[in-house]
């Protein structure tokens, strides 16, 4: 299980990266993509839509499983990765890089106290 050190993790298997410009990037973890199996469908929100903490912002589906995506931060969706709906396998192949899902401009300083660091996530899913 690949768990990069520079990311934060949710217990529902999303990852969050704090970017230098104050935005955050979200995706699903290597563990999540492995559990789902081959991803065949990705649905992401409209750019410009707003999400609150805990909201569903899309789904990733394999043949037999539907994974709801929940955001640990609230704010405006400023970008989505169009490559993911177009070629869902990218999320399996590169969950932390090319398979990122959305970028959010937080409406407040994100509260990351409930998120796990790489070590904690590894032991949670280990």
């Amino acid at each position: 299980m690949n768990t990069p050190e520079n990311l934060l993790y949710t217990q529902s298997d999303e990852w969050l990266k704090k970017e230098d410009d104050g935005t955050v990037t979200l995706g699903i973890t290597d563990y999540a993509q492995h559990e789902l199996g081959e991803i065949v469908y990705v649905e992401l929100p409209e750019v410009g839509s707003t999400v609150a903490v805990g909201d569903s912002f899309g789904v990733v589906e394999s043949v037999k499983a539907v994974g709801d995506l929940h955001t640990p931060v609230g704010g405006e969706v400023i970008a989505v990765n169009d490559a993911a709906p177009d070629s869902p396998a990218i999320v399996n192949e590169s969950p932390y890089e090319n398979g990122w899902l959305v970028k959010i401009k937080p409406d407040a300083e994100p509260d990351t106290s409930a998120l796990l660091d790489a070590a904690a996530y590894t032991s949670y899913r280990g």
Binding site: E38, Y41, E43, V59, V63, P85
Partner: protein, 372 residues
Amino acid sequence: MSTSDISSSLQRTSLYDTHVAIGGKIVPFAGFEMPVQYAGVKQEVLALREGCGIFDVGHMAQFDVRGENVTQALNAIVSADWSKVAVGRAAYGLLLNENGGVIDDIMGYKLADDYWFVVSNASRADVDEAHFKDHLPEDIDFNNRYADQAMIAVQGPNSEAVLQQFCDIDLSELSLRDVRPATVLGNPCLIVRGGYTGCDGFEWVGDAATAPELWQKLQEAGAAPCGLGARDVLRLEAGLPLYGHELREDWTPDESGVAFAVKTEKGDFIGREALLEKRQASTTKTVRGLQVLGRGIAREGYAVTLNGAEVGLVTSGSPSPTLEANIALALIPAELPLESEVDIVIRNATHPAKIVALPFVARTTKTNKPKS
């Protein structure tokens, strides 16, 4: 999907250690710890459709029913006409409740004039057993095998060539639904031509101790291990119903799309009268095939609408790896024409779908040889 009593200790088939050893992902299913997938659902489906796949189906309910008048006794319970089934043949049928609803669908294998072997859904084992015990006469001997014997389904266009390597009878002589006693790997067993994938295939029913060795040999001969996930997708592609999805206690066989398995003209059986009464009122909905026109995936429980009004619901839905399309079975009005469009509501958005003929994937089961 049924989740009957998974809190108590789960059972395992004789292939459990094999599943774990070859990387099967184990999940609780109908009281058993069963593999949902190995290499991946999509890969498994395609491997089976293109060559050969094997399933552990030892968790299914297995009953021995014996007695001088056993055929007559079973025929008074099942919906199909089993009185005409010859020894050495298998038959499909439904168990109906007194309201004409479907308790389960079952396969009966007529092994002798006084002996039927009956297989039904694992998730319905207890209900089916109680139903039989309530309705079979006292002179009929009914025994639940409680999975003490193993079953492996060998399915796909290469299944005959794969299984033949380990089997003493000539499999090419078996037609669809023929049942034969045979010897596999030196041990006595039953071989049935048939399955639940719409492909040619066989079921091996034999002693639990032989199952791991046979599984390994089948794998070495090129068969791909397939889990419950692939099994569900394959049966959906073949347009075959599953209890809890298309088959339900409060739906009639007509609604469930299995009216072909009901022979009201054969005489009385449980549920017949209620069903005939309901037919007077005319059935307005039945389970039919849908193909989603866009990329959305229909899943069980999603609403089906027509011009904004709800007209039905999805009973099973999945991407079809074989067709590379998103397909579904849905309970919708029977009068809507083929190729006409409805909408499926997926997370509050409507996705157009067209009504298509079943099965989605053409069946390639070996048809019966003409009998002279």
